[in-house]
């Protein structure tokens, strides 16, 4: 060792000590950095992500489309889909057979732009079959209905193309050159009638080209069509406690989980549209027939029970039971059924009977929508009445009352009733035959008045109603 003075030795020792601290400190920083490495590995790299498996055929499609910058969004979307790692690419879905109406030659391959449930059925046969028998698949069959008259004639055919068909689905027409008619396509309406005879398009909910189950399970996917003044399902849902909880806990919902790992009450706690109407619970499998668990139809003037409604009601109750006790479930459905019955008996049936009688008496013309009373009646059941009923089924109080029955009652009493009375006082009288309308003539009893006055004097400091 070099001969150092004591002072020098001490300062050297001090330096060594300092260096030791530096080494120790740097080592701890290294430890943190290496921990970060582990985190990056697990979160971002995931030890071998699933990468697209591109066959030689599909490589041709992809290379050319990317090079020519045509519809590259779809390709990049596909790359993150679950189809991609399995080698299910362009050709597997877009391939057409000779003789297909919408087949055409494209760069050496016979393809069709349109991918229909018949194509998806090649792998997803269960889902396609269930969907095919559901009400969704029938959505485009409104062409013979009054609604179609309203859109097509009263408004205009372009409205049907971009409006009605946007949700319900168009009837796709193929032109001479095998390409698709612009008045009928592009269209992702859920009941689209395809040239190959199949009905519907899976891409209505599982948007292309990522076909993500996570996206399909979002309420917004359904809410694209199931919304609005005539059936505010998504609005009512979002008002309901279910919707509030969902919105507050979206990150915990694990929407991307496969069905076996997406069980209500266990893997996630707040129902979406899919939960009640489609998804698997512990005891039920996924169904793509969205009507399987619906016992009432809230669509017509007067709501009726559907075929096999006991089984359907049982199925729906089972979903509720995944989270709730039987006490809650029973009572809810009692409330809902009674509310719907109220609508039917007090407003729906009487109004329909009245309109039928007026038509029979030739007091109104057979042409729809040409007289005011027809519009009032239409909105009464089609808009206001439906809002009330959807509010009932979704536990959305505001939609039951202010946006539902309040408006039903208002239209009924101050618009519909006077118009009926104008045309036939006798029909108007029969209209009010239901118990619920007796208050018009009888008013309030003396006891009711006394009670109400007491309320205003005590609670409202003597101010009368509206003050």
């Amino acid at each position: 060792m070099a001969d150092m003075g004591d002072e020098h030795r001490e300062s050297q020792n001090g330096k060594i000590n300092f260096t030791r601290y530096v080494i120790g400190g740097l080592c701890l920083v290294l430890f943190l950095a290496l921990t970060g490495v582990g985190y990056v590995q697990v979160e971002e790299r995931r030890g071998g992500g699933l990468r697209p498996f591109i066959s030689a055929e599909n490589k041709k499609c992809i290379d050319c489309h990317m090079a020519k910058d045509v519809a590259v969004g779809g390709i990049n979307d596909w790359k993150v889909s679950r189809h991609a790692p399995k080698g299910i690419g362009c050709i597997e879905c877009h391939r057409a057979e000779k003789g297909d109406v919408d087949a055409y030659a494209h760069e050496g391959a016979l393809i069709s732009t349109l991918v229909t449930p018949k194509d998806c059925m090649k792998c997803h046969d269960k889902e396609a079959k269930e969907f095919g028998k559901s009400h969704h698949a029938k959505a485009a069959q409104f062409t013979g209905s009054l609604d179609n008259f309203l859109g097509n004639v009263v408004e205009g055919p372009e409205v049907v193309t971009s409006g009605c068909a946007g949700c319900h689905g168009s009837i796709v027409k193929v032109m001479e050159n095998g390409k698709l008619h612009p008045a009928t396509w592009p269209n992702s309406g859920i009941g689209r009638v395809n040239p190959d005879g199949s009905k519907g398009t899976c891409a209505a909910c599982h948007a292309r080209h990522s076909f993500s189950i996570e996206q399909a399970r979002q309420p917004e996917s359904c809410g694209r069509c199931h919304m609005g003044p005539d059936h505010p399902q998504i609005e009512a849902y979002l008002e309901s406690k279910h919707g509030v909880l969902f919105t507050a806990n979206k990150e915990k919902m694990k929407l991307a989980n496969p069905s076996e790992k997406w069980q209500p009450g266990k893997d996630y706690l707040y129902p979406t549209c899919a939960t009640c109407h489609m998804s698997a619970t512990g005891a039920q499998e996924v169904t793509h027939d969205v009507g399987d668990r619906i016992s009432w139809t809230l669509r017509p003037v007067v709501s009726t029970r559907l075929e096999n409604f006991e089984d359907r009601r049982k199925a729906m109750k089972q979903v509720c039971s995944s989270c709730h006790s039987e006490q809650i479930v029973e009572r809810f459905f009692t409330q809902m059924d009674q509310g719907i019955t109220l609508y039917n008996d007090k407003f729906g049936k009487p109004a329909k009977t009245a309109m039928d009688k007026l038509l029979a008496m030739k007091k109104i013309t057979p042409t729809p929508y040409d007289e005011k009373i027809e519009w009032v009646f239409y909105e009464l059941w089609h808009h206001e009445g439906r809002r009330a009923r959807h509010g009932l089924s979704k536990m959305a109080p505001d939609y039951v009352h202010w946006q539902g029955f309040y408006e039903v009652a208002k239209s009924f009493y101050i618009k519909f009733l006077p118009l009926v009375r104008e045309l036939s006082p006798q029909v108007a009288e029969e209209l009010l035959r239901n118990e619920g309308h007796k208050w018009i003539e009888q008013g309030m009893t003396k006891e009711d008045i006394a009670q109400m006055l007491e309320f205003y004097d005590k609670e409202m400091q003597g101010k009368r109603g509206g003050g």
């Binding site: 070099a2 050297q12 260096t19 080592c27 950095a33 582990g38 790299r45």
Partner: protein
């Protein structure tokens, strides 16, 4: 810790520990003089990570790119080990350059230390060869065309050119044989050679001693002072490397396509200047000027001594040459980037 107690009678017994513990002048604490320790540490890291990479890399042309792809995207922490390896190469060569500049500007090769410089310059060349052979193993476009261009260039040398080219290529064309040979060079021959050369260089520096630096009076022993500092530097480097790898994880260019010369192929940054030099100057001149320059580089201490005797102000000359050389190097690099 041995303390040599000397008595008047016994002659001092010097053993090898004494040589190791021989005093290091205090200026070695100052950062420009520690630059050499950094490439040494990085070399250790390169050997360790390189060895680990051989557990997954396959040196056959059909499999090479795929195996590198696997390491980068498939193997657990593969990206990290490969990233460490890649960044260590860049940093090692960068710090070797800094070290060379420092030695050059301070003229630490002065007599009797010329061998320090000569041994160091061989280390530099072998390091660059390691960089070249290593990059070729990825077998992406840059690798393939790099292999082709470099071996082509060597082939233009007179007499030794063609046999040398055949030796490196394992035949007339760049093929699977080329890859295998470069793999052998990179993982067996050159690391052993480089390890020995580095050890030799360090020993030569220790034995021949450090050139005098004005103002540096005190001394400190190798252990524990200097070793501890080197330890701290090494760990600091590891932290830096880890952070760099996390922020800039390694990627992979398109696989080698022998049919098409990619227009945007250019070598790694440390070869950029040489590559541009060869591109800009006409054929025989470019290669010969490079070789000539390398020769002057290796023998510079002797040139320095010659010129010093003639009265040239070598410190100033060196400073000037350093500035010009760095400027040209950087300029050519920027040119490559821009082109």
């Amino acid at each position: 810790m041995q303390t040599q107690v000397t008595t008047a009678n016994e002659p001092e017994q010097k053993n090898w520990i004494d040589y190791i513990q021989k005093d290091l002048p205090e200026h070695l604490d100052w950062w420009p003089y520690t630059l050499g320790a950094i490439p040494l540490t990085l070399f250790g890291i390169l050997v360790a990570t390189g060895l680990m990479l051989t557990f997954y890399y396959v040196p056959a042309p059909e499999k090479a790119y795929e195996s590198v792809d696997q390491i980068t995207y498939g193997v657990y922490l593969g990206w990290f080990i490969r990233g460490l390896h890649k960044f260590s190469v860049d940093l090692m060569i960068l710090f070797v350059f800094f070290h060379v500049i420092r030695v050059f500007v301070t003229r630490a090769y002065r007599s009797p230390g010329e061998l320090k410089w000569v041994s160091g310059s061989v280390v530099l060349f072998v390091t660059l060869a390691m960089g070249f052979t290593g990059y070729s193993l990825v077998y992406d476009n840059v690798s393939y065309w790099g292999m082709t261009v470099v071996t082509n260039m060597l082939g233009t040398l007179p007499i030794v050119g063609t046999p040398l080219m055949y030796l490196l290529r394992g035949g007339e064309e760049v093929s699977g044989g080329t890859l295998l040979r470069l793999y052998d060079l990179h993982t067996k021959l050159l690391p052993a050679l480089l390890g020995g050369l580095v050890l030799g260089h360090v020993l030569v520096v220790r034995i021949l001693g450090f050139a005098e630096v004005k103002g540096s009076r005190g001394f400190h022993p190798f252990y524990p002072e200097h070793t501890m500092m080197m330890g701290a530097v090494a760990i600091g480097l590891l932290v830096l490397l880890t952070d760099l790898v996390m922020i800039f994880p390694p990627g992979l260019g398109p696989p080698a396509n022998p049919q098409e010369v990619a227009s945007d192929v250019s070598p790694p940054w440390y070869f950029s200047a040489a590559y541009m030099w060869i591109t800009l100057l006409p054929a025989p001149l470019s290669l010969w000027s490079l070789l000539g320059g390398a020769g002057v580089f290796v023998l510079y201490p002797f040139l320095d001594r010659l010129l010093l005797e003639r009265g040239w102000p070598m410190p100033v000359v060196n400073a000037l040459i350093g500035v010009v050389a760095v400027g040209v190097f950087a300029g050519l690099m920027l040119l490559d980037l821009w082109m």
